[in-house]
Symmetry: C2
């Protein structure tokens, strides 16, 4: 009997068939993360103008090259298809996909919930994982709980870095305490080429005073560049609307107003301006006040800290789905499984 | 709809009925941890000479006072019963218990597995949680997987601090990496009064060169005191046989020989000699080597870091049990739930 059989983890005779929706910086990183995995095979992807599906697996190098030179996976030979409703078309064609990572920029803020509704309506059953950031976006998904249950879809939300890995670490750290006083998430991100993460940077800009999602989305690259020139490439973000708050509240750990998220993004330097960490402060049953800290290694990229957990949650989601456990879950409720 | 209903967490109309087996330092701390909880009620306990069961709840102060003055809960009025087979008697009498925390010293090393067998044979169905330390002890439980499944028991093993909280943190931290190179757990424990943790200290001594479980168990208090006099009260432990290794191997994270556990116990000072931490080093999908670190606050006691997670896993175990998910799980596979 193998270790996985013993412990009840999933143990597929064949790799899990995984799709990636969205093929910007995050989607492309996801393809590279999946490439060496034995337990998962990357079979489907979609961008705004097209999609590709191949039961035997898609090639990351060829896919990224096509997207970067021609702007869409629709031109990928022989499996690409141009489509102005690429996600809808892929859903209809690619039923034999076990789970999707939704690596889509959530612009507008209702976009991910609308994608979830499309999956519900399509009749497809499987696992969906997102790396949503905003509280309001996760709240929209909470409203779909009954529909997801009825549709036989297991949806795991907030499964990136923060929310995601750091939220789960906070949920774990909370275990030592009788009461949680504060959860403080501080992230540092360093990227040398913000142009590779256009959507992500605009989502960060949307958190700055005087900006919102719509205004940030409408900025041209030149306008983003001009803003970054003013700040020497630094985006300093405080009291961000991050779904870590609602996720920890839902998990019963503390009221959402005790959760704060802030960070510094350096768009001109791959070195992180500070070490990303979460600090969980609480009172133990003996009345002591203390703080547990989970700190990410500086050499780990945003892509590694988002895509790794996302697929770990997807694997855990498949285990839930195979047991008939559907509906909405957050990263704070489920232990991700390591994908080999 | 409440948050718990939305997210699928357990939402009991009545508190979970919890038992604690073993009433030394750890069992007494467990009673104190449970006392303020609304979601759990402490209804059953057993020590070597007796047991107590009260459906409306046991009183921690009275129970601890009786145990400390008279040596057994069997003298507790009106619910205590003297018994030379206290655990067996409690099992037969206390069927309406949702879950037990096995706060028993695992001496001899086969003891916990023998307790699990007693539960299997008793016909009781529910959740068992242990805070076992040794690899070989967890391996004995792995052999009971089929019997636990058939008996309708959900058993979560290694759910204390290490293994437990730190193992789960390592499983989480691993998500950022394509390959794990090492998991290094280093704990610091400071206790002012080792006499309150006689069994735990003997388990630590058993890890020292020249000692084993049998020899440590056979030591008189005077012999322990003499040993501690030689080391100025410090126990420095390296390459300990700790089940974090088999648990992370079972979770598919890395081969067990990449997991090391060591620490320093100061038996004469409540201040920790160093901050307990786990360091997870790996390679990301981009080929970067880095280390995530999870560090426990120095003010948190061993009791808080063991009992808190143990009941968090017990709550998560009840959610599994109610879905008909039985068998053996480790702390690295399940996200503990926060107990209010």
């Amino acid at each position: 009997m193998s270790a996985e059989q013993i412990t009840g983890s999933i143990n597929s005779p064949t790799p899990l068939r995984v799709g990636v929706l969205g093929f910007g910086g995050l989607g492309q990183a996801a393809a590279r993360v999946l490439a060496p995995k034995r337990e998962m095979i990357w079979v489907a992807a979609a961008d705004q103008k097209g999609y590709a599906y191949a039961a035997q697996g898609l090639d990351p190098d060829a896919s990224i090259a096509i997207y970067q030179t021609q702007g869409t996976l629709g031109y990928l030979e022989p499996t690409g298809t141009l489509s102005s409703q690429s996600i809808q078309d892929l859903m209809e064609r690619a039923k034999p996909v076990d789970g999707y990572f939704l690596a889509l920029p959530n612009l507008p803020n209702t976009f991910m919930a609308s994608i979830a509704r499309q999956f519900i309506q399509s009749g497809w059953q499987g696992v969906l994982v997102d790396a949503l950031k905003r509280t309001s976006a996760v709240e929209q998904l909470l409203e779909l709980q009954e529909e997801l249950l009825a549709a036989g879809i297991t949806y795991l939300t907030g499964c990136g870095a923060t929310p995601g890995l750091l939220t789960a670490a906070a949920a774990l750290a909370a275990q030592s305490y009788a009461e949680i006083h504060s959860v403080k998430i501080t992230f540092g991100v360093g990227i040398a080429n913000w142009e590779a993460y256009r959507a992500t940077i605009r989502e960060d800009i949307a958190h700055l005073p005087g900006y919102d999602v719509e205004r940030a989305r409408a900025m041209s690259d030149a306008e983003v560049e001009a803003l970054l020139d003013q700040t020497n490439g630094i985006l300093a973000l405080e009291n961000m609307e991050h779904a870590d708050d609602v996720m920890l509240e839902l998990a019963g750990i503390c009221p959402r107003d005790r959760v704060t998220v802030g960070g510094v993004v350096d768009t001109r330097n791959p070195k992180k301006p500070l070490s990303t960490n979460v600090q969980v402060t609480g009172r133990t049953f003996e009345g002591k006040i203390s703080t547990h800290t989970f700190t990410l290694g500086d050499e780990t990229s945003m892509a590694a800290n988002v895509c790794g957990p996302a697929f770990g949650y997807l694997k855990a989601g498949v285990a839930l789905h195979r047991r008939g456990i559907y509906g909405l879950f957050t990263a704070a409720e489920v232990m991700p499984q390591f994908v080999k």
